[in-house]
C-alpha cells in the first residue's frame, strides 16, 4: 500500500490550496491574510513566525518600520542593547547582517508574495472555473485592488528604506528568482499601479475599518511625491498637494483629542475620523509584539512604574524605551500644556550617558492601552491599540511642507492646518504665516508625529540624517552625535537576501 505515502494535512488550521476555494468565504480570508502580514508574524500567536532566522517579534512589520524610521533617528532609545540589531540601528552602526533589517526586508517582501498569490487565485479564469457566487464575485474587483495597493505599499517602503526591491508580480511563479527594481523603476511602478487601481478601490472612509480605501492610495502617492527629490531627483510637490487635497476631501476630520489616536479604542473613538490606515492590534484576537505593544510596555518608566495608567503591567518592560533629548527639547515652555507633550521628566536627567541606565533620559506616555472612556484594553501585555500608520495630521503637515517647497496650494490653508493641530492639542500658541518655514515644519512634524515611524524619512528629505549638519545624541555612536557617511541614507540589503537572489540583487554602495 504505497499510496499511504500520499498524505494530506490533518490539522484543522491547515487547508490544501486545491480545496480552499471550494468555500466562497475563503477569498476574503485570504485577502485578510495580506493585511494580517502587517500585524501578525505567524498564525499561531505572537511568538510564531513564518519568517526564519529572526525572532518573531522583531520581524513584525510595524515594529521594524518603527525601528528603521524612528529608532535610527533622534527620538527614541532602546535600553536593552543585547537584543540583536537594536544597538546597531540606534547607534547607526548597521551592517548587512542586521537582523532587524532582514526582518524588514523579508516581512515586506512577504506582503508582495501574498498579494501576488491572491491575484493569481482571483483571475477571471480561476473564478469561472469555481462557480463563485455572484455576491462574492462582485466584491472581487475591490479585493484585487486592495491586494495591489498593499503590494504597492510594500514596494514603497522598500524604495524608501533600501532603494531597491526584488520585483515580482502575479506573473512570477512561486520560488522563482525575481528581477530587481531600483528606485526609479519602483517609483514608476508604484505611481502607475496606484493610479490604475483607483477606480476599483472603495471611496475614502467607505470601506470597513482596517481595510484600505482610495485615501490610502492617495496617501502613498502624496508621500512618494513629497519625497520624489530623494527618490528620483524630481520635484513633484504639486502632485503632493493634489493628493493631500483629495485625501482631505475624502471627509476626514481630526480626532477630538490628540491622544485618542493612540488609545486602546482608537478603532471606535473619534480617531476613526482621522486615521486613514491602521495596523490592527488586539489583546485577545490579534496578539502581536508590534509597535503599539512595544511602545506601551516599553515606555513604562523604570522609576515611575506607570504601567497601570496605560493598561499594562505596572512595571511594563522596565524602561525599555526613552526619548533622546533632541525630542524632549522640542517641547519647550510653549508646549508645557500641549496635549502632544506626554514627556515625563520628573526626577530624571535629560541626558542619556549610558544607554543601559534606564533611570536616565525622559520617558514618554503617548501610546496607551487605556480607552478614551477610562477603561482598559483586554490584555496587560498585548495591547488593543492600533498603530496609526497614516492619519490626517500627517496630511496637513505634508500639505504645508509641499506648499513651502513650491507645490502650490494656499499659504493660509497651510497655516490653518498647522493651527488646527495646535488647537486640537489645546495649545493656544497658534502660528501666523510668517512663522511657517521648512525648519518649523520639521520640528512641528516631530511634535505631532514623533514615534510614528516617520522621522528618518523626514530627516533625509531635510538632508539632516547623514552628514554632520545635525548631530543628535548617539548618532554614529558618539554620545553627543557625530557625522554619518552619506550612504547611510539607504540601508544595506540583508546579506541573506542577496545570497538568495545572487544574480539580480546587489549590495547598496558603501556597504
Amino acid at each position: 500500500c504505497t499510496s499511504d505515502l500520499d498524505i494530506i494535512p490533518k490539522d484543522d488550521q491547515t487547508t490544501l490550496s486545491e480545496d480552499l476555494f471550494d468555500n466562497d468565504t475563503a477569498y476574503k480570508q485570504v485577502l485578510a491574510g495580506i493585511y494580517a502580514n502587517l500585524a501578525l508574524t505567524g498564525t499561531d500567536g505572537g511568538g510564531s513566525s513564518n519568517l526564519k532566522n529572526i525572532d518573531a517579534g522583531t520581524s513584525q512589520f510595524g515594529r521594524v518600520l518603527l525601528y528603521t524610521q524612528t529608532l535610527s533617528a533622534d527620538q527614541m532609545i532602546w535600553s536593552y542593547e543585547n537584543d540583536p540589531g537594536t544597538r546597531e540601528i540606534q547607534r547607526n552602526l548597521w551592517t548587512a547582517q542586521n537582523p532587524l533589517l532582514l526582518g524588514m526586508f523579508s516581512r515586506t517582501h512577504l506582503s508582495i508574495a501574498l498579494a501576488n498569490n491572491f491575484l493569481r487565485e482571483t483571475t477571471d479564469d480561476k473564478l469561472d472555473g469555481r462557480n463563485v457566487s455572484s455576491a462574492v464575485r462582485s466584491e472581487i474587483p475591490a479585493y484585487r485592488a486592495e491586494a495591489r495597493l498593499l503590494r504597492a505599499m510594500a514596494y514603497y517602503y522598500m524604495m524608501d528604506l533600501f532603494g531597491k526591491a526584488n520585483f515580482a508580480t502575479e506573473d512570477d511563479p512561486v520560488s522563482s528568482q525575481p528581477i530587481v527594481y531600483d528606485r526609479a523603476q519602483l517609483f514608476d511602478f508604484i505611481e502607475t499601479e496606484l493610479k490604475e487601481i483607483e477606480t476599483d478601490l472603495i471611496a475614502p472612509r467607505q470601506n470597513e475599518y482596517g481595510r484600505a480605501d482610495k485615501a490610502v492610495a492617495y496617501m502613498i502617492l502624496a508621500k512618494i511625491y513629497l519625497n520624489a527629490e530623494v527618490y528620483i531627483k524630481e520635484n513633484k510637490y504639486s502632485d503632493c498637494i493634489n493628493y493631500c487635497e483629495r485625501i482631505i476631501a475624502g471627509g476626514y476630520n481630526l480626532a477630538d483629542n490628540y491622544l485618542h489616536n493612540f488609545m486602546a479604542d482608537n478603532n471606535t473613538n473619534s480617531a476613526t475620523n482621522e486615521i486613514i490606515f491602521p495596523i490592527i492590534s488586539d489583546g485577545v484576537v490579534t496578539q502581536n509584539f508590534g509597535p503599539t505593544t512595544v511602545m506601551i510596555n516599553g515606555s513604562v518608566g523604570s522609576i515611575e512604574e506607570n504601567g497601570i495608567e496605560v493598561g499594562v503591567g505596572s512595571g511594563g518592560w522596565g524602561g525599555a524605551l526613552r526619548v533622546r533629548k533632541q525630542l524632549a527639547n522640542l517641547f519647550g515652555p510653549a508646549f508645557a500644556n500641549d496635549d502632544r507633550n506626554t514627556i515625563i521628566s520628573s526626577g530624571r536627567p535629560i541626558d542619556i550617558v549610558d544607554i543601559s541606565d534606564r533611570d536616565t533620559g525622559f520617558i514618554l506616555q503617548k501610546y496607551s492601552n487605556a480607552t478614551s472612556t477610562g477603561s482598559f484594553g483586554s490584555d496587560q501585555t498585548f495591547v488593543d491599540t492600533d498603530f496609526p500608520l497614516y492619519r490626517l495630521a500627517d496630511v496637513y503637515l505634508m500639505y504645508a511642507e509641499a506648499h513651502l517647497r513650491g507645490g502650490g496650494g494656499s499659504l493660509s490653508t497651510a497655516v490653518d492646518y498647522i493651527n488646527a493641530l495646535r488647537d486640537r492639542a489645546n495649545n493656544s500658541n497658534t502660528i501666523t504665516s510668517g512663522d511657517l518655514s521648512l525648519d518649523f515644519i520639521l520640528d512641528e512634524r516631530a511634535r505631532e508625529l514623533h514615534w510614528e515611524a516617520h522621522r528618518r524619512q523626514d530627516l533625509i528629505r531635510f538632508k539632516r540624517f547623514t552628514g554632520g549638519s545635525y548631530n543628535w545624541v548617539w548618532k554614529g555612536n558618539g554620545s553627543n552625535g557625530i557625522s554619518l557617511p552619506a550612504h547611510f541614507d539607504i540601508y544595506p540589503i540583508p546579506q541573506a537576501s542577496i545570497a538568495a537572489n545572487p544574480n539580480n540583487l546587489t549590495q547598496n554602495p558603501g556597504y
Binding site: 487547508t15 485577545v284 490579534t286
Partner: protein, 941 residues
C-alpha cells in the same frame, strides 16, 4: 544431555547438527536430545554465547556435552538489522553490549547502560529526574535535520519525537528489561535501514523468557545531593556591596535591602531519596511456553524541590516454539506509566535578593516573601521557592508498546526462514499546569489552570525471507523483505481556564508513513573472505511526487586473516580481521515539517486573527512550500581492523571512517518576494565527518578467584561543513540575555556551531576591558563584522574506560569518561555576572560573584565576548560500585548480592561553570547533576 559447564544447568535449544548436512535437532527443556547418526559423523553443538563443540561419533549410546562460555566472543551472536550474525562473520562496524557489560549504578533510563561503553557513541543526560539524553553516534551527520540515531526495540523502530508530559523517548522503558544493545555504525551495517540510518542505529533487544524457573528481586536506593553551586553573593556580602555604591556608576536604592541571609540555591535544592524495585519471574507456562514477566517501579526525587519522576512498568515476554521449533513466536508486551512533576527555578534562585527571607507572614501571596508594594507586585524576580510550591506542573504518560514476531522455518526447506513482525507503540500523555491563585501578579487573571493531552502512535508491519545455505566452500545468506511504518501525533490544550483571552487549541500533525523494500546477501568463501551487499528502497510521505523514493546501497568486504595458514597457528594473534565498507544512507527526519511539499494555507489561531470593521475574521496565509525536497544522503567509507591477542585475552577494533553528507536538509534563504517565507528547508549543503575509533578489551587477570578486565575506547572526531546554502553563514545557538541573540555560527570550512564572538581585549594586568574588542577587520568600527570563530562544542577526543574486578565473591566496577577539546559558552556568566544587574527592574537582584574577576558593568557590552567561551574538557567518574554475593543461602534463595556505590563520583575540569558536560555547548543553567550514594540488593530465587 547438554549442560552448561560451570553450573551444570541443562541448556535447552542447543542446535545439534551433523556437520555438512542439514540433519539436526535441538535440545529440549531439560537439555536432552536425540539424533540418528552414523559412526564417523561429526556432531556440531552450537548455542548462542557458547563455544561451539564438534564431536566425532564413535558409537556412544549417549553423548553428554558440556558447553563452555565463549570467552573468545567470536561466535557471539550479534543482532543486526533484520537478522543476526556472528562477530566472526560480521563485515560492518557493529558493537554489541550485553547485560553483563552494562554500566552499573543508578540507571534510570536505558541509554545510560551504554554510556561510555561504545566508541563513537556520545550520550549526554540531563540532571532532572528521569531526564532524557542527547545521543549521537559519530557526532551526527546532519545539521538541521535530526542527529539522533534510529532506535529499534525488538524490531520496532521508535520515533525520536518526545511528547509533552514525558521526560524522553526512552524514559518509559525499564532498563532492567534490556538484554542487549547492538550499535550499528557504518553504512554496511546501517544501510538495511536506508532512509533513517545516517546517524547510526541502536538495536535494543529485551530479555526473553527462559524455560528454567527463576525469580529475581532487585532493590536499589539512591541518596543524592547537589554538591556545587553557582556562587552568588551572600546576604551580608550583598548588603556590603550595595552599600559600597555607586558601584562603577550604578546607583542603587539601599532602602530596598532586607535583613535576611538567604541562600536561595540551598532553599530550592534538596537531598533526594530515590528507589528502584524490580521483580522478574521466568519459566515455563503450561510446561511448554518460556515466559518472562517483569515488574519495575522507579521513584526518583529531583534535586530541585517538587520535581520528581516515577515509573511503573510491566513487561511480558512469551516465547513459544511450535512444530519442532519450526515456528518460533515471540510476543513482547509492555506497559509503562510515567508520572512526572516538573519544576526548575534555578535562574530565579541565582537572581533573587539574598537579603530577603523566604516567608513573610504579612504577604498576600500565600505567605511567601515577594517584592511588592502593599498588594501591588513590584517588577522583579519572583521568589523561587514560592514559584515551585505554588505551581503544580505534572505530566503523566502511559505507554504501551511491543511486538509480535513469527519466525517460521519451512518444513520442506529448513534453510528458508520467514519472519513476520508486527509492532505497536502508543503513548498518551496528560499534562496539568496549575499555579496558585496566590501567585504574585498584578494581572487580573491570577495564575494558570490548563490541561493538555497528546497521543503518539507508531505502527509497524514488516516481514522478510531469509535463506542460508552452506555449500562446499561458500556459505551464502540472502534476506529480502518489506517494511511499513506509520506514525501519528495529535493533541490539544485547554489554555488557561481562568483567562477569557486564553483559548483551547488542538493540533494534528500529518501522518508520517515510511515504506521500504530491502535485501541483503552475505557470502563467505572458506569462512575467510566475506562479502555483504545490502540494498534498501525507501519511500517517505515527507516528500512530494517524484522525490518520495530513495535507494540506499551498501557493500562490505572482510578478510579473516587470522584463519590464513600463516597466522592460524600463531600463539599471539588469535584473531585478525580486516574490513572495508562503503554505502549510502539517508535522512528524512524533519521534526514538525511533514507536509512542506504541499501547497497549503494556514488559518490563524484564536489569538492570530484579523479584524475588518468590528468583526473578527480568520486570516488565511499561504504556507511556505518546497515541492522539490528530497533525501539528505550520507556516504560512508570505512576501514576497520578487529584484533584479538593471546587467545582473545586482549581484543578490540580500530575503525577509520569518513562520512560525507550531501543535499543536507537545511533551512536556507530563498529569494524574498516569491515564496511564503524568507527561508525554507531545502537540500543544500555538505558536511564531512572524519573519525577514528579504537577499542580495547582486556582480561588482565583471569582465574578462578580473581578476575580483572577492562574496556577502553577512544573516538577522534572531526566534523566540518564543506558546503553551505548560498555560501552563507548561518547564525544559530540562541542564548539568554537579549531577545533572539545567538552565539554560534555555521560556516564553510568550520565545525558546525562554532562560537561566533568578539575577541576580548585585556589590560596590562590581564583584566578584561569592558566592551573593548579587537577590530579584526581594521575598519575602526567595532560592529558585527568583527566577530570571529572560536572553537566549537564538539569534543575532539572522547574516551571511555571501565573495569570490572571480581575477587572471590566481591565485585568492583567503575567507569571513567573523558572529553577533550569540547568548548562551552558560559551563558550563566555572560548574561548574569554584570553589575548593572544588581538592579532587577524595580528591586535588587543577585549576580554571580565572577563579576569580581571581570568588573563588568553592562551585559550588552560583554555578552558576545570570547572570554565566556571556555575549554570544557573533562574527566569524569560516572559510577563506582562494590558488591558481595552470598551463594546458596537456602533451598529457595539461591543467591543474594549486596552492593553499594557512588554515582557522579568526581569531575576534573577547568571549566568554571557547574558542569562541563553541556550538549549544545551553551551552558544556560542546566539542571544540576547530583552526586548519588547507592545501595542495592539483588535476590535470586
Amino acid at each position: 544431555t547438554v549442560t552448561e559447564q560451570s553450573t551444570s544447568i541443562p541448556l535447552p535449544g542447543v542446535n545439534v547438527v551433523i556437520k555438512s548436512t542439514t540433519t539436526g535437532t535441538s535440545t529440549d527443556f531439560d537439555g536432552n536430545y536425540q539424533i540418528e547418526v552414523n559412526t564417523g559423523d561429526i556432531i556440531v553443538f552450537s548455542y548462542v554465547g557458547y563455544r561451539t563443540q564438534e564431536i566425532t561419533y564413535t558409537g556412544q549410546a549417549t553423548l553428554n556435552v558440556q558447553l563452555t562460555d565463549d570467552a573468545a566472543q567470536l561466535d557471539e551472536i550479534v543482532v543486526i538489522g533484520y537478522g543476526s550474525t556472528t562477530k566472526k562473520d560480521a563485515t560492518g562496524s557493529v558493537e554489541a553490549i550485553t547485560s553483563e557489560d552494562f554500566t552499573k549504578g543508578n540507571i534510570v533510563t536505558p541509554e545510560n547502560l551504554l554510556n561510555g561503553r561504545v566508541s563513537g557513541v556520545s550520550i549526554t543526560t540531563g540532571g532532572a529526574p528521569g531526564a532524557g539524553s542527547q545521543i549521537t553516534i559519530r557526532g551526527g551527520s546532519s545539521i538541521n535535520a535530526s542527529n539522533s540515531p534510529l532506535i529499534i526495540i525488538d524490531g520496532l523502530p521508535i520515533s525520536n519525537d518526545g511528547l509533552n508530559g514525558s521526560r524522553g523517548i526512552l524514559a518509559s522503558i525499564n532498563p532492567n528489561d534490556i538484554d542487549s544493545f547492538s550499535v550499528l555504525k557504518d553504512a554496511s551495517a546501517t544501510a538495511i535501514y536506508g532512509s533513517r540510518a545516517s546517524n547510526g542505529v541502536i538495536i535494543i533487544v529485551t530479555k526473553k523468557g527462559k524455560s528454567k524457573l527463576s525469580v529475581t528481586y532487585d532493590a536499589q536506593y539512591t541518596f543524592g545531593e547537589i554538591t556545587d553551586r553557582i556562587n552568588v553573593f551572600s546576604g551580608d556580602e550583598f548588603r556590603a556591596l550595595v552599600a559600597s555604591q555607586p558601584i562603577n556608576g550604578t546607583t542603587l536604592d539601599e532602602s530596598l535591602l532586607g535583613a535576611a541571609n538567604t541562600d536561595w540555591q540551598d532553599e530550592i535544592f534538596r537531598n533526594t531519596v530515590s528507589a528502584q524495585h524490580n521483580i522478574t519471574m521466568q519459566g515455563l507456562v503450561l510446561k511448554a511456553v518460556p515466559t518472562r514477566f517483569s515488574f519495575g517501579t522507579t521513584n526518583q526525587e529531583g534535586a530541585i524541590l517538587t520535581s520528581k519522576f516515577e515509573r511503573r512498568s510491566l513487561g511480558l515476554s512469551v516465547n513459544p516454539s511450535l512444530f519442532d521449533d519450526h515456528l518460533k513466536i515471540n510476543l513482547n508486551a509492555n506497559l509503562a506509566f510515567e508520572d512526572n512533576r516538573f519544576g526548575n527555578t534555578i535562574g530565579q534562585a541565582i537572581r533573587f535578593d539574598p537579603t530577603q527571607p523566604v516567608y513573610d507572614a504579612s504577604s498576600p501571596f500565600g505567605g511567601f516573601y515577594q517584592h511588592r508594594n502593599g498588594s501591588v507586585v513590584s517588577n522583579g524576580t519572583t521568589n523561587p521557592v514560592a514559584s515551585l510550591l505554588q505551581s503544580n506542573n505534572t505530566g503523566d504518560s502511559n505507554r504501551s508498546y511491543g511486538n509480535l514476531n513469527f519466525e517460521y522455518k519451512f518444513h520442506f526447506l529448513p534453510a528458508l526462514k520467514a519472519v513476520l513482525n508486527i509492532g505497536f507503540d502508543e503513548t498518551e500523555a496528560k499534562t496539568i499546569n496549575i499555579t496558585s491563585t496566590q501567585v504574585p501578579t498584578n494581572d487580573p487573571v491570577k495564575g494558570n489552570d490548563s490541561r493538555g493531552f497528546q497521543r503518539r502512535t507508531n505502527k509497524l508491519l514488516d516481514g522478510y525471507l531469509s535463506y542460508n545455505k552452506d555449500f562446499d566452500k561458500i556459505s551464502a545468506g540472502f534476506t529480502a523483505g518489506y517494511s511499513y511504518q506509520k506514525f501519528t501525533n495529535n493533541g490539544g490544550n485547554t489554555g488557561n481556564r481562568r483567562d477569557d483571552a486564553s483559548f483551547a487549541s488542538t493540533f494534528a500533525d500529518p501522518d508520517v508513513v515510511l515504506i521500504g523494500f530491502f535485501g541483503r546477501a552475505n557470502l563467505s568463501f572458506l569462512d575467510k573472505y566475506l562479502l555483504t551487499l545490502t540494498y534498501r528502497r525507501d519511500g517517505t510521505s515527507r516528500f512530494g511526487e517524484g522525490n518520495k523514493w530513495g535507494d540506499f546501497p551498501a557493500a562490505a568486504i572482510a578478510w579473516n586473516m587470522s584463519d590464513e595458514d600463516f597466522l592460524k597457528n600463531s600463539n599471539t594473534i588469535s584473531n585478525l580481521k580486516l574490513r572495508a565498507s562503503y554505502g549510502i544512507t539517508g535522512q528524512q527526519d524533519l521534526p514538525g515539517q511533514n507536509d512542506i511539499f504541499l501547497n497549503r494555507y494556514r488559518g490563524g489561531d484564536q489569538n492570530s486573527q484579523y479584524q475588518f470593521g468590528n468583526a473578527v475574521i480568520q486570516s488565511l496565509i499561504a504556507s511556505e512550500v518546497n515541492p522539490d525536497l528530497k533525501w539528505e544522503e550520507t556516504t560512508t567509507i570505512e576501514f576497520g581492523i578487529d584484533y584479538g591477542l593471546f587467545d582473545q585475552r586482549i581484543s578490540g577494533s580500530l575503525n577509520l571512517f569518513q562520512k560525507n553528507s550531501t543535499d543536507l536538509l537545511f533551512t536556507a534563504a530563498v529569494a524574498d518576494g516569491t515564496n511564503f517565507s524568507n527561508s525554507i528547508i531545502q537540500n543544500i549543503g555538505e558536511l564531512q565527518i572524519q573519525g577514528l575509533e579504537f577499542s580495547l578489551n582486556a582480561d588482565v587477570i583471569k582465574n578462578e578467584n580473581f578476575n580483572v578486565d577492562f574496556n577502553f575506547n577512544a573516538t577522534f572526531l572531526d566534523r566540518e561543513i564543506t558546503e553551505l546554502a548560498l555560501g552563507q553563514d548561518v547564525r544559530t545557538g540562541g542564548i539568554s540575555g537579549g531577545t533572539g541573540n545567538t552565539i554560534q555560527l555555521l560556516r564553510v570550512g568550520e565545525a558546525p556551531n562554532s562560537f561566533h564572538v568578539f575577541k576580548q581585549l585585556y589590560d596590562t594586568s590581564g583584566a578584561p576591558i569592558e566592551g573593548a574588542y579587537v577590530d579584526l577587520n581594521g575598519d575602526n568600527i567595532i560592529n558585527d563584522d568583527d566577530r570571529y570563530l572560536k572553537e566549537n562544542p564538539g569534543a575532539d577526543v572522547i574516551l571511555g574506560f571501565q573495569s570490572n574486578i571480581n575477587y572471590k565473591k566481591f565485585d568492583l566496577s567503575f567507569n571513567l569518561r573523558a572529553n577533550i577539546g569540547n568548548y562551552v559558552y558560559n551563558n550563566a556568566n555572560s548574561s548574569r555576572a554584570q553589575y548593572e544587574l544588581l538592579q532587577d527592574n524595580a528591586v535588587l537582584g543577585n549576580i554571580p560573584t565572577t563579576v569580581l574577576n571581570t568588573g563588568f558593568q553592562r551585559t550588552s557590552d560583554v555578552i558576545i565576548s570570547d572570554a565566556y567561551v571556555e575549554d570544557a574538557s573533562f574527566l569524569r567518574m560516572d559510577n563506582i560500585t562494590l558488591g558481595y554475593t552470598f551463594n546458596n543461602i537456602s533451598k529457595q534463595l539461591k543467591s543474594v548480592r549486596l552492593w553499594g556505590g557512588v554515582q557522579n563520583v568526581f569531575t576534573i575540569t577547568n571549566y568554571s561553570g557547574l558542569d562541563p558536560e553541556v550538549f549544545n555547548g551553551i551552558d544556560n543553567l542546566i539542571f544540576p547533576r547530583s552526586r548519588n550514594i547507592l545501595a542495592g540488593a539483588n535476590f535470586k530465587f
